[in-house]
Symmetry: C2
Subunit: 321 residues, 2 copies
């Protein structure tokens, strides 16, 4: 959570002159987003978010993300709407970086989601999946099963520093998932990172979804599995079946899960847990000594993965078969 | 520039229920202020800044700072206005820290002030000094001449790492300033840290002053000397006499400088340069190896101090004698 790039008032004024946003009145760097620099911008037309895309986001993917937000917004999904400049473009450039202006979304993210919040999330996720069905662009998921082996290779040598015998554990899990991963489940646009900090609420009412910078084309039920991992465990790593049931039932009321999707849930949840375990391990070893920013604890996802391995069937998540 | 303390939506909602600010709609941690955590807060009544005071600000000084902002705002100075809670208090507590809500001020700070900006700053500084004359509280300046020796002692041993022979240079300057420092010049409330990032502009028009957390009771002309240092040097450390003249003339049109104050300016400017040189040296050596935040370069103030030592009279700053 940082602002990586400084933006000077004069250069922001010049940048915004290319938009129909009126006069620049104020802007503040905001501590939001791990990958990019974000500014809250006040103009005579209102409040907006300016995002400068830093090196970790591939510039060639930006048109996909921005077109997706526009598409979803047009389908009634509450998410930031990219603002077009006077030439009709949503992608601009400031401070030597690709940049976009999006509308400001009210709402706050919930540190400890209740079952009601999980239900609202499940409903919103299903609406998102339906709204994405006629989106015409596609983007491969670099962080799905095909991408895990290279992540494993870049962190496995030091994995045992985090947890005894973790390297062997990861190797076995990876081999199993590579052989068993389902390929015929319904595909579409998935958010792929719909953690609580990317979902805004006003009270118990979900007010919007943000941060589409991992969105891609992949198995829809895999997105559900990511959310089960991100929303339905307690801080002691125990699974809360009331939250799981809330999420899954609300999802199914908008978009029914097929038998194949339901049966695959434990496997998809293992894959989702492995994906975050691997990326967190990579980040864990990537931090320079003495750095002020502490990466997220990989151990949390090791515990979740162990839970999913021990699951009997999708029923254990709270789903009705 | 960081947010040191996380604030949870539920706790912010509960905190704001003590104010007449309507419903909490959104909040963002903002990268502003080196000492405190700041949040931009959107409620149904508008936009506000919430500041959580971290350990570097003495809690016993907070009533002074907040009362001063209230006083100055009441005298027509454009600065953040502390918002009273339902019990009529401006100082609250959230996340185990003292905290205050102030009004949001439009405007942006100028990275490269022009002579016109320096003129606007000079006028605002004089208005601030006049508006503070009937402020009934006082606070000693811990970072004036009486505080420099202890700063010197905590950084002098390593000073030569930054610049050869710097320790001896500092010792001589400190001894001279301690013996020559004026004590009979007009006193009052000074801002004491009115650097460009604490002064907001809309175009060339000054829109407000912020960050009163170094404000204290001290020699008014010392505040002018701090601003000469902060506003009138170029990035190559050369003094820009056009900017200096602009600042001093605009100041004098609102509050005339006495002959004694004008004559003391070179000495006060040396003191101001030494103060920032010393605190920057302390911060420079205080940073843990590998830290992401780089402290401000002390060398800049060494160069400024050398300039003031070589000055013939206050006329060299651009003032008319």
């Amino acid at each position: 959570m940082a602002v990586y790039t400084d933006v000077v008032a004069e250069e922001l004024g010049a940048f915004l002159a290319g938009y129909d946003l009126g006069e620049l009145l104020a802007y503040k760097g905001i501590a939001e987003g791990v990958e990019n620099s974000n500014f809250l911008v006040h103009t005579s037309r209102g409040y907006f978010i300016l995002t400068l895309y830093e090196r970790r986001v591939a510039a060639e993917d930006l048109p996909f993300f921005l077109a997706l937000m526009e598409h979803l917004h047009g389908r009634g999904i509450s998410c930031p709407q990219p603002v077009k400049n006077k030439r009709g473009e949503v992608l601009g450039r400031i401070a030597s970086r690709p940049a976009a202006v999006v509308t400001f979304l009210d709402g706050m993210w919930i540190r400890r989601p209740s079952p009601a919040h999980c239900g609202a999330l499940g409903e919103a996720l299903a609406r998102l999946h339906l709204a994405g069905l006629d989106f015409k662009h596609s983007r491969a998921n670099a962080l799905s099963v095909d991408g895990w082996r290279s992540l494993y290779e870049s962190c496995s040598e030091r994995a045992d520093e985090v947890q005894p015998d973790l390297k062997r554990f990861l190797a076995a899990e990876l081999a199993y998932l590579e052989s068993a991963w389902p390929s015929k489940l319904p595909q579409g646009v998935i958010h792929a990172d719909l953690f609580p900090d990317n979902v805004f609420f006003l009270g118990n009412k979900l007010s919007g979804l943000i941060d589409f910078y991992f969105a891609c084309t992949d198995t829809l039920a895999y997105d559900v599995a990511i959310c089960l991992n991100a929303w339905c465990f307690e801080s002691d790593h125990s699974y809360n079946v009331t939250k799981g049931r809330g999420l899954l039932q609300a999802y199914a009321q908008v978009r029914k899960l097929s038998h194949e999707e339901r049966d695959a849930l434990p496997l998809l949840a293992r894959g989702a847990a492995l994906r975050f375990l691997l990326t967190r391990l990579v980040d864990w070893f990537d931090v320079p000594p003495g750095a002020l920013v502490r990466p997220k604890d990989p151990f949390e996802y090791y515990r979740k993965l162990r839970f999913h391995q021990a699951i009997g069937s999708a029923r254990d998540y709270g789903i009705e078969q």
